[in-house]
């Protein structure tokens, strides 16, 4: 011990003259850091209620609750996160994973309330003093993601390889690709709510991650008996609303469905789906049309023990899926795979049988316990412009059917297609392929009333059509077809600047100063389809309720005014495969319910 050791500690007195370091009110004088993890804020207008915050929260501090003023709609669950500060640990993982980026934390240090209940609140809904505070924890940028924003690229045939053939252009996912894509799913279920058939999308994607494709197939068949078809050409409303699409690319739900169906061999279907031994209940159902709704109804009715007979006008089953969609998008063998499984359940398909000609609907009503009709929209609609009655003006729907049937299709070197929907793109691309096969080059122009950003066709269809040398020139209203010496010379169009009037009615407006002439010797109209209900006799029509647009009214079970007649599919809900499937499923349940009630009411003999 030295003398220094004795006196040195007294230097502590020096501190007496220093300014104190503590401050009285840390909140007022010293705000929290920019990144401070304080209390929750939520922009409820951009929040879609996906519940990913709830899923990541390790303390179960977040509950998704309904909120006044937020409606449940496609792409929005209508729920918003409510935070319980008795549980929250302020880790901010909810902010980091937020799919929309709506959630953040403030830099507020303290919050004092007398009522403990107030510590459970819905950010963005319950007003808080920090709602407009900018500072606080936000998701770190850039390259900081808890899931992959980009989808696994689907390999397509190169435009040069595909533009002259009808070989399927989408190659499909490999196991590795599918599992990687399936990994992106956040299991929010917004897709399920939006899908007309309410397919268990997160569940079958989970089956892919677990590499349990048999379970995946079972989940698919719970709600959709046409997975090969839907896995290729579904309008994928699920992807449109997919949560991942908020900040990145939506999950390829359609391709993942196709992956499950592709990987399961058809000969194993019955074993996997446990449909080897079905007990018949002795009741017979007639189904008109073998389109998606008819097949779906037949499938679920067959599982319930009904003996189903499908009456099909054409020589092959599938309806619009086979005769409306080109082979390069949906190969025929894949349609056959789905249909042959349904047939294997004991469903009989009577081909080349037109109801109303070969057999009347009344006869079906008498012979069968119930009838389901899903006859679809197989009539083309005309533009009714000058010259549209020329013999070289065709309906896209007829041409597509003839291509499938292998018939000779009229073809010239320059073709004009009127229409901006998917069917218009289908016929454009199909005819372009035929042109390349015949003339070595494509000479086809597709035009529509809608401008490019409003075209009803899928964006990828337009892009791919252009890749295949077809011209897509939207935003023009057809005026007249010029005919010279009984030959079509071309189509006069005027710029279309508005489609609907103030009341929302369809009323296209044209700028007659901006005219154009498309040359061509053949015109194909593809502006929508109509239904052919000629099989309904006047007597029957008398009992049915038909609305202004010519659609038959049905109840929630798709039962019409005639108790034994159920209708579904395109004739009820407009053209869409997945709606048709959903209708068929619901109608099957409705038929079962109807016959059960009927049997209950019948006195036992």
């Amino acid at each position: 011990m030295s003398l220094k050791d004795t006196f040195s500690p007294f230097t502590a007195w020096r501190k007496v003259f220093e300014k104190p370091v503590t401050i009285k009110d840390p909140i007022g004088e010293r705000p929290g850091a920019d990144r401070y993890r304080g209390f929750h804020k939520n922009d409820i207008t951009s929040c879609i209620g996906c519940g990913t915050c709830e899923a990541i929260c390790e303390n179960e501090a977040i509950d998704m609750v309904p909120v006044e003023g937020v409606e449940t709609k496609d792409g929005d669950s209508g729920l918003r996160p409510r935070v319980d500060y008795g549980r929250c640990c302020w880790c901010g993982l909810c902010v980091d994973i937020c799919t929309t980026g709506s959630l953040s934390l403030t830099n507020a240090y303290t919050w004092v309330e007398e009522d403990p209940e107030k510590y459970r609140y819905t950010p963005g809904v319950d007003e808080k003093p920090w709602d407009n505070e900018e500072k606080g924890w936000k998701k770190p940028e850039p390259n900081y993601e808890f899931y992959n924003l980009n989808r696994v690229t689907m390999e397509h045939l190169h435009p040069e390889e595909r533009s002259d053939s009808f070989v399927e252009m989408v190659k499909g996912y490999s196991k590795e690709q599918a599992e990687k894509e399936a990994d992106r799913c956040v299991e929010c279920g917004i897709c399920t709510a939006t899908c007309p058939a309410h397919m268990g999308i997160p569940e079958y994607i989970k089956a892919i991650r677990n590499d349990d494709l048999e379970e995946g197939l079972r989940i698919l068949y719970d709600t959709n008996p046409l997975p090969e078809i839907c896995g290729r050409i579904c309008t994928h409303k699920c992807e449109t609303v997919c949560t991942l699409g908020q900040r990145g690319e939506a999950l390829s739900i359609r391709w993942l469905k196709r992956y499950i169906a592709d990987q399961n061999p058809s000969e194993k279907y019955k074993k996997i789906l446990n449909s080897e031994f079905l007990k018949k209940n002795g009741k017979k159902i007639a189904i008109i049309g073998s389109g998606p709704s008819g097949l779906s109804a037949a499938h679920y009715l067959a599982l319930m023990g009904y003996t189903c007979t499908i009456f099909e006008k054409l020589a092959k089953a599938g309806g619009m899926m086979r005769f409306g969609i080109p082979e390069y998008r949906l190969p025929y063998d894949q349609i056959d795979k789905d249909i042959s499984y349904i047939e294997s359940l004991g469903v009989e398909i009577k081909y080349n049988t037109t109801v109303g000609v070969d057999i009347t609907l009344e006869e079906l009503g008498e012979k069968y316990d119930a009838v389901f009709s899903g006859t679809g929209l197989h009539l083309g609609r005309s533009t009714r412009i000058e010259g549209s009655d020329h013999k070289n003006v065709y309906q896209s729907i007829d041409l597509l059917r003839d291509i499938t049937l292998g018939k000779e299709v009229p073809l010239t070197e320059n073709i004009i297609v009127i229409g901006g929907g998917n069917v218009a793109m289908d016929i454009t691309r199909s005819l372009a392929r035929l042109q390349i096969q015949k003339y070595g080059k494509a000479g086809i122009i597709a035009t529509s009333l809608e401008t490019e950003d409003k075209m009803p066709a899928d964006r990828e269809e337009v892009v791919e059509a252009r890749e295949e040398d077809a011209t897509v020139n939207p935003g023009w209203a057809p005026q007249r077809i010029e005919i010279e010496n009984d030959k079509i010379k071309g189509l006069h169009v005027a710029q279309c600047y508005s489609l609907f009037d103030d009341e929302g009615k369809f009323n296209p407006q044209c700028n007659m100063d901006n005219l154009q002439f498309f040359e061509g010797s053949m015109v194909v109209e593809s502006i929508g389809q109509g239904m052919d209900l000629s099989y309904l006799s006047e007597d029957l029509k008398h009992d049915l309720e038909i609305d202004k647009r010519g659609r038959i009214k049905v109840d929630k079970n798709f039962q019409s005014g005639l108790p034994w007649l159920f209708l579904g599919g395109d004739i009820i809900q407009g053209p869409d495969v997945i709606h048709g499937i959903a209708n068929g499923h619901k109608a099957a349940k409705g038929i079962d319910e109807f016959l059960f009630e009927k049997q209950k009411d019948t006195p036992k003999t």
């Binding site: 011990m1 220094k4 050791d5 004795t6 040195s8 500690p9 230097t11 502590a12 501190k15 370091v21 503590t22 929290g32 850091a33 920019d34 990144r35 401070y36 993890r37 990913t52 899923a55 990541i56 390790e58 303390n59 640990c89 302020w90 880790c91 901010g92 993982l93 980091d96 994973i97 934390l105 924890w137 770190p140 390259n143 900081y144 993601e145 808890f146 899931y147 992959n148 990994d183 992106r184 799913c185 956040v186 299991e187 989970k206 991650r209």
Partner: protein, 396 residues
């Protein structure tokens, strides 16, 4: 009595007799002995833990550590949480220095999951780990004097610790629970001007350490109270599993950063601070030198780290990140010693087992019980604090 070398002296009559097996026979009815509970709430106990002391006069005859006041079952909770969800939980295993938990969990998950962390993230992890070490030392070094009634420097130390916590708040968004190092990377780049502000703090801390030297280090009373107290013989270090400053104070040149270099510690120039007396004073001196080393390391890291870079590697979706079957052992040097996570993955989304082995268990349970025998009751707290006991880490 305080300056005597505490060892068992057989000729002291007031001490209990040992039976044939060597076990002490403490007859409480003889009124020679008193049972004293130090803790679970006691200013001399760093956290919720208690020491059951049997004293004779003011000498400890028998000591037993009791834990169980803080048990939260973290290792069990991990088995029910996804890997990413373990991250906000694991930090609570040692409140004063949470970053080592974060690092071990992140590194273990990355090793098992085959994730390569970007370079920038690794440098940022080092910044966080060294800052955490510095803030702990700023509490412990002056705090050592606080255990013997010299509380003033301990209060000063808290202010300088707060300066580092300010930097943590800026960098990580949290003052105590930083939640910064997560599986795959870290949660943010250095904010603008961060290095400048940290450097200013380091200068202040260096100047403060001079005060500490004057008031504690060169303090006759402190020396009297700490020299020759709580001596851990060299031979005990390995059998009792002592690591970190406790082992270094006994002459063992042991530092995980040197022996099993992780992150980029092998790119930094630093030495292992060693003392030989192995008493409370030696352990204090090791920590005092560690402050300087840590400040130096922080400066080296700031000058060597890149300006920009990715902060997080691409990981599978954290909501269902399945880690392949496997096991791994990750370790790092915490301010208290070697800090280990042993992780077992079974191929599912949840860890099969995450076992943590920190220095406090061996230091505060087995070693402390032995060290306290014959200690003066007023030396119990200094000895315990010199072992850097962190009760939450013992119990998990």
């Amino acid at each position: 009595m305080s300056n005597m070398n505490y060892s068992w002296k057989n000729n002291r009559s007031m001490f209990p007799e040992a039976d044939e097996t060597g076990k002490l026979v403490v007859d409480l009815d003889s009124q020679k002995y008193i049972k004293v509970w130090q803790g679970p709430n006691h200013p001399g106990v760093t956290g919720n833990m208690s020491l059951e002391l049997t004293i004779s006069g003011d000498e400890v005859v028998e000591a037993q550590t009791h834990v169980g006041y803080l048990h939260r079952g973290f290792e069990k909770l991990f088995e029910r949480r996804r890997y990413m969800q373990c991250f906000p939980t694991c930090i609570r295993m040692c409140v004063p220095e949470p970053d080592t938990n974060e690092y071990n969990l992140a590194r273990g998950t990355e090793l098992l999951g085959g994730i390569e962390v970007p370079e920038m993230a690794n440098w940022l992890r080092m910044i966080a780990l060294e800052m955490a070490r510095l803030q702990v030392l700023l509490r412990m070094v002056p705090g050592q004097a606080g255990t013997m009634g010299l509380g003033l420097p301990a209060q000063w130390g808290l202010y300088y610790r707060e300066l580092i916590l300010d930097r943590f708040e800026e960098l990580t968004g949290g003052r105590i629970y930083h939640m910064y190092i997560l599986p795959g990377g870290v949660r943010g780049l250095l904010p603008d001007g961060f290095k400048k502000r940290l450097e200013e703090n380091l200068v202040k801390i260096e100047s403060f350490m001079k005060d500490v030297d004057r008031v504690i280090y060169a303090n006759a009373v402190f020396k009297k109270r700490t020299k020759g107290i709580g001596v851990i013989p060299e031979a005990w270090i390995d059998p009792y599993g002592a690591t970190g400053p406790v082992a270094r104070a006994a002459g063992f040149e042991r530092d995980v950063r040197k022996d099993y270099p992780y992150l980029y510690y092998n790119q930094l120039d630093f030495g292992v601070n060693v003392e030989h007396e192995s008493d409370v004073f030696a352990r204090f001196r090791v920590r005092r030198k560690d402050v300087d080393t840590t400040i130096d390391l922080l400066r080296q890291i700031m000058s060597k780290m890149p300006e920009k870079g990715d902060i997080k590697a691409e990981t599978p979706n954290v909501l269902h990140w399945k880690i392949p079957r496997g096991e791994t052992l990750v370790r790092c040097e915490s301010s208290r010693g070697e800090y280990i996570f042993y992780m077992v993955a079974d191929g599912s989304m949840y860890p099969r087992r995450i076992n943590m082995r920190g220095p406090s268990y061996s230091h505060a349970v087995v070693l402390l019980e032995k060290l306290l025998i014959n200690a003066n009751i007023s030396d119990v707290s200094p000895i315990m604090v010199s072992l850097a006991t962190c009760p939450p880490e013992i119990e998990r």
